[in-house]
Symmetry: C2
Subunit: 558 residues, 2 copies
């Protein structure tokens, strides 16, 4: 790997108020219990001022350790190489094949501890294809994670340079930066020169699975003329990327010749790059897509490395007007066929989804995907709930993303404020990631994920008790929360003030509320029944007492 | 009015790419058809580069005219004073009383033209209390608007200074600024000194209805001691504000003594300022809230000015943990009782709603509100779908807001990025407004509002045709969209380039897609049937032709 990125080029050190911790787990295959692997499961510990702490799922890799030893040139430790890998099952060396064979792999055990679930839930969800573990054998630096609706909703951050701007160094930092804030996977969508080298730098240094769209690089190899593409060029590109360690690949194998005209009279035609490339190829050759006709061969390659298919929605709608149309759903039916083929090869599959969808048409997308694709994990881009807010499409899409995740989508591809307008910079990447963490977490709450509400409760409790520092540190973005607070009340004592700048000391409802609680506790109003009973009996005589107490309510503490 | 705000202190002039237009409508009461009022209905015309235009609902008042004549000291023209006002019906000079009597008022005619609906729909929705027209007779400067689920979803922007910071001049500019970007109403939540004067400046210069929470000013009058409040002090404050022209008032009359202990053991107690003030009063006096016991008297005052009740949810949940609890719903039942009382006085009513609600508990809020409060318009603050993202609560709440509006909420109170952290500045106000316009519009689309999708389609068509300038000008925030684009491709010719910075010239799916369409049209593939038929018959022989055509695809235009 040519050294072009100094280790100082990436952000490192703990997130404010947190430390990086590892939980050690010994894992042994059930049939080989005399040998075991040591797994170090990472998490982020938020230290609270009241002595408590909260442990959070963490995607940031060693970069957030207190004193990380970084060598970007060497890459991260090849941890998974030291774990024992089961033998292939029917030619497939994949998590799917092993799960079907009843084997709980080290990756599954790692994930179970990370998600706080039973290892056999991980195995069984993978076995029936309702969850995937993208983990190419040649990306041993990655920390195992799972994508499936029985688990926490995940988010992906797209990075990658284009012909117009951006450098390798920028992209490596974007990867580190995106995972720092919670990206569960990264897609490298580079289309410019140095496409191979950029990917190598990202893969060797990425603690999360990396996805790509191989057709982009294949197109570079034919100087950008899609009609000059061939199966052989594409296949060789896939193998090149497989050898590098790409964990999942978007393949637009559902864009069939006969579907292309369905998109011709749309308001926004074909908006997927891969979809439009394949459409152009199909029309030019008047042949069926080589991705479709060679799909079995592709599956054999994927099975060797355990690459996960991300079956691309090349005909996804690019506008509200085109949502849920025949072109989109025709392709989805084909993705359903391909899902069955891939699984018959022991290859893991997820399905990509739209795009631009008005709210009332969102649930239909999930229902149809589950029906047609055997509940393979759905991986959607947003969707944007309206077209009218360029520069705010992280928000238009967070609305759709939260709703589609509530309905069952397993992973959300982020959208940044630059969507439709330009390439995201570092700030945009952070905004996109935080926004999508919100959508994913809102869905986890709505789905009743067992650990989700812990964080809301901890933060709300801190808010109610005026533990400002804890409120910041428990936030998705402690730095910005602190900064916004300090704009109004910058003095350090204000961090412990029993009021805030919105209402000032006299109007603070939280303060009054605390007094109400104190009053209730003072008077033994502990349960609802107590409250009802005692209120009737006692309150009359106590009102003067509350007045005395109440006179103190508005004295500022600072 | 003491002159402290120069006219140069507010933002004026058209929004980029648009002009302010007025449509003239003559309106006569059906029973007095020989006399009519001339109504000038404002809208914003977006001029497109292809010679077309799109007219949009506009809330910005004369400030966005090309050469506005502004005199903040004199205030806006008192337009509604020149319209004939029907006689009171049963003592009530209200839109509700007139609607019930079958009268289409000038305000209703104005709204019908503005919303593009039949005037009798406006009248009938007001008559049954499913919509309100907040329009105090003493705020004749306002342009009539309607809040109800049969109409476009509206948004409110809160402004107002506090003891800690902000000036009158800042607040007037925030009002102008918020309405420029689409705020349908403004609430002045000032709590510091100069509360009367600030409100006067805002009212005299506001083209949209203004709401307040009178208890805030009443509390100032008793030096911040809630236990010192009395009905008389509150009543006099309401009359003072009524005389100034406040269009709707939040009244926390549903916070009853017996509900207060229900909130004592919540994670975040009582988070509504008004709610906590009344709770403190009730506990201190061990008496029922004077807002509740004097509610009839309050209705009589409201009926004289046509002030609309915004029945406050003083016990709204302030955290995910407290959502949909007994305290919240007990108060809602009382608001239902009060709704009936207000309507019996001919007074218009809307109902305020939460707050912090996880997605799966949102719909229940709307269903219960409609059931208990006779479908009075619901007016919700967000709700935030999670607690964990201070500094991004415009986004956490936009998710909830879009969903609750889809379910039937008529007006959304915005949340800015500073929520929970500090007072919003001018930028925060804009971010909050734009974010809530997104949520409202997403709901309009989902509800099938007849005009909503026009704008999405126009913008998406512009996007597909690479009319960059039109894409910017049709956006909710043209300035930021343009700025983001220009960061990557600043040259003016790039505005007509047939590609953008995300993919560069070679990878542009929109370009390929345009070629697919050109190909389809060239070959007569106009309807779906044509496509199916001709594809089978002709495409084989045409592939070479497409290749020739395709070779041109990737030549950059600039």
């Amino acid at each position: 790997m040519s050294t072009t990125v100094p280790s100082t080029a990436v952000t490192s050190g703990p997130i404010e108020g947190s430390t990086k911790e590892y939980r050690l787990v010994r894992h042994a295959y059930s049939d080989q219990s005399h040998v075991s692997d040591e797994l170090r499961i990472p998490f982020r510990r938020v230290h609270l001022t009241n002595g408590e702490h909260l442990d959070l799922y963490d995607t940031s890799g060693p970069y957030t350790e207190s004193e990380p030893v970084l060598d970007l040139d060497a890459g991260l430790a090849r941890t998974r190489d030291h774990w024992r890998r089961p033998d292939p099952v029917d030619g497939a060396a994949t998590q799917l094949a092993w799960a079907r064979a009843g084997i709980v792999t080290p990756e599954m055990a790692f994930i179970a501890e990370r998600e706080g679930v039973d290892p056999d839930l991980v195995r069984s969800e993978v076995a029936i294809g309702r969850a995937v573990i993208p983990a190419n054998h040649r990306h041993p630096e990655s920390e195992p994670m799972i994508i499936g609706k029985a688990f926490a909703v995940k988010i992906n951050a797209n990075i990658g340079n284009s012909a117009v701007r951006s450098s390798i160094s920028d992209e490596v930092e974007k990867m580190v930066w995106a995972t720092r804030w919670g990206a569960d996977t990264i897609m490298d969508l580079s289309t410019g020169k140095d496409i191979h080298l950029t990917r190598e730098w990202i893969l060797r240094n990425s603690p999360v699975p990396v996805g790509t769209v191989p057709i982009y690089q294949a197109l570079e190899k034919v100087n950008g003329d899609p009609t000059a593409l061939t199966w052989e060029i594409y296949r060789d590109t896939v193998i090149e990327q497989a050898e590098q360690g790409v964990d999942y690949m978007t393949v637009h194998a559902g864009v069939l010749l006969r579907y292309v005209p369905l998109a011709a009279h749309r308001v926004t035609g074909i908006v997927s790059r891969g979809g439009s490339i394949m459409a152009a190829w199909c029309l030019a050759h008047h042949q069926e897509s080589f991705l479709y006709t060679h799909f079995h061969e592709l599956c054999e390659i994927f099975a060797r490395y355990d690459i996960t298919f991300s079956l691309g929605d090349g005909l996804r709608p690019g506008s509200i007007a085109d949502a849920n149309d025949e072109a989109q759903f025709a392709e989805l039916r084909t993705l359903g066929e391909l899902t069955k083929i891939a699984k018959s090869h022991g290859v893991q599959v997820m399905i990509e989804g739209p795009g631009h969808i008005p709210m009332h048409k969102i649930v239909e997308n999930v229902a149809l995907e589950e029906q047609l694709c055997e509940e393979a994990p759905f991986y959607t881009l947003g969707p944007l709930a309206t077209d009218i807010a360029p520069a705010y499409d992280h928000i238009t899409s967070a609305i759709g993303a939260a709703m589609i995740a509530q309905a069952g989508t397993a992973m959300l591809c982020y959208v940044t404020p630059k969507e439709h307008l330009g390439l995201p910079d570092r700030d945009d990447v952070k905004t996109g990631v935080i926004t999508y963490k919100i959508a994913a977490h809102a869905a986890d709450l709505a789905k009743g994920h067992p650990r989700a509400q812990e964080r809301d409760d901890a933060l709300s409790k801190a808010r109610f008790e005026f533990r400002w520092t804890d409120q910041f540190n428990l936030a998705l973005d402690p730095d910005t929360a602190r900064e916004f607070h300090d704009e109004t009340l910058p003095a350090e004592p204000a961090k412990t003030a029993h009021f805030c700048s919105m209402c000032g000391p006299k109007f603070c409802s939280m303060r009054i509320s605390a007094d109400v609680r104190a009053y209730a506790e003072e008077h033994g109003l502990v349960t609802q029944e107590d409250i009802d009973r005692k209120l009737a009996a006692e309150m009359d005589s106590k009102s003067q007492e509350f007045i005395d107490h109440g006179k103190k309510v508005y004295l500022p503490v600072v």
